[in-house]
Symmetry: C2
Subunit: 233 residues, 2 copies
């Protein structure tokens, strides 16, 4: 990320004024205007740092410097690298793309699988996801934030499954989250565990396999039985 000296100076002045009048509340504050600009700069810098050096090398001072924001603000508002990663995941969830509506469940699930694949194979976002998955593996708070990110993503796409059920494409009692998890799983398994290539074919097959299982009624059991999306280690 590059920022001109003037822009950085401008942001530093803004944040100084702001943090003096408003106490920090890490991860929950979501105002517009200048505070949002400071937050955007810090989260951009966090994303860059995660992509470049990973979670273990996150350095608050360097992030403050590359965001053009005062160290004190970063420490006060986010507290720690974990606080930064947590807020970044909230931001990513808020900014994720809306669900597809192609008119058929097969097309919608294919679009979902393609979106996951595009994200994970993007060099920058792929590196960010490797980093947040690593962070979640060693920190409970990051794990909860990552679970929250997926909860938001799944909730956004759940209507796709409901529409498919209304059109009679799958059983009416299909658990939308279970079906959507089944689309993501083969992609994330290759991405995070076996490090196999995420070809277009892998995405297509993930969508088709999930749909076939849904049609066969595999995802119609009571939702509670499958475990909730909670961070646990």
């Amino acid at each position: 990320m590059s920022r001109t000296v003037a822009e950085s100076k401008d942001l530093m002045e803004q944040e100084t004024r702001l943090t003096e009048s408003r106490p920090a509340s890490p991860g929950t504050l979501r105002p517009g205007g200048r505070t949002a600009k400071v937050r955007g700069a810090v989260l951009d810098a966090t994303r860059d740092a995660l992509a470049e050096t990973g979670f273990h090398a996150l350095n608050m001072d360097r992030i403050a410097a590359s965001a053009g924001v005062g160290k004190t603000t970063v420490y006060r508002r986010w507290g720690s690298p974990v606080g930064l990663v947590t807020d970044l995941l909230h931001d990513m969830a808020e900014q994720s793309l809306p669900a597809a509506d192609t008119g058929g469940l097969a097309g919608d699930l294919r679009a979902n699988a393609e979106l996951v694949r595009d994200t994970l194979t993007d060099p920058r976002m792929g590196a960010v996801f490797h980093a947040v998955i690593a962070a979640a593996a060693c920190d409970e708070e990051c794990a909860r934030a990552l679970a929250g990110f997926y909860r938001t993503r799944l909730a956004e796409w759940a209507p796709v499954v409901a529409r498919g059920a209304e059109r009679g494409e799958i059983p009416a009692e299909t658990d939308p989250l279970e079906l959507l998890r089944a689309v993501s799983a083969p992609l994330y398994y290759r991405f995070a565990v076996t490090h196999e290539e995420l070809t277009g074919d892998v995405a297509e097959r993930a969508a088709e396999a999930a749909l076939a299982a849904a049609r066969a009624g595999v995802f119609t059991r009571p939702q509670g039985a499958s475990g909730d999306l909670v961070g646990q280690e």
Copy 2:
């Protein structure tokens, strides 16, 4: 892991004699007798250290000490923490349980899913898998060794799919590895990414969903199109 002083001394003497007469070849040497005993002790200590402190804190000197083996041997034979993890994964692949044969594909796939679940939910083995997945994420050689582990596991279970096809339970052209990956994926996705609980229900559904997709012909495409099991980042 505990080892008596006498056992440790014995092992140290054995390895001194052995390494003097036989040059090391990390990860490939697989002789019986005393060398195997030294290797077993070192890999046990590596497994314990991975489970307790993770990959990033692996310490060759401490592993040598807790295995009761001379440091020089450990450095000469395994070279680095990556060498230890790589050899441990070879050993784990060699020692993995044989495939089930329940007489039906549904039962065999359920047994496979249960085995994966038992491994990942075992406190000690779960911690080892978290550590080797983390190691694979940051080291290319570990990624190749982990891919090799899964290749061995999948090859062991492939006959289960072939027998199911012979019995007419799934299309004859079903790609065994794609079907078996589909069984593992939902379990590993929860284990390594979303940190959701691996209940018995999750395992059962993973097996059922994979079988339903196989029956629908989703895994019958040419094998080459799905990407090979290669370590890549």
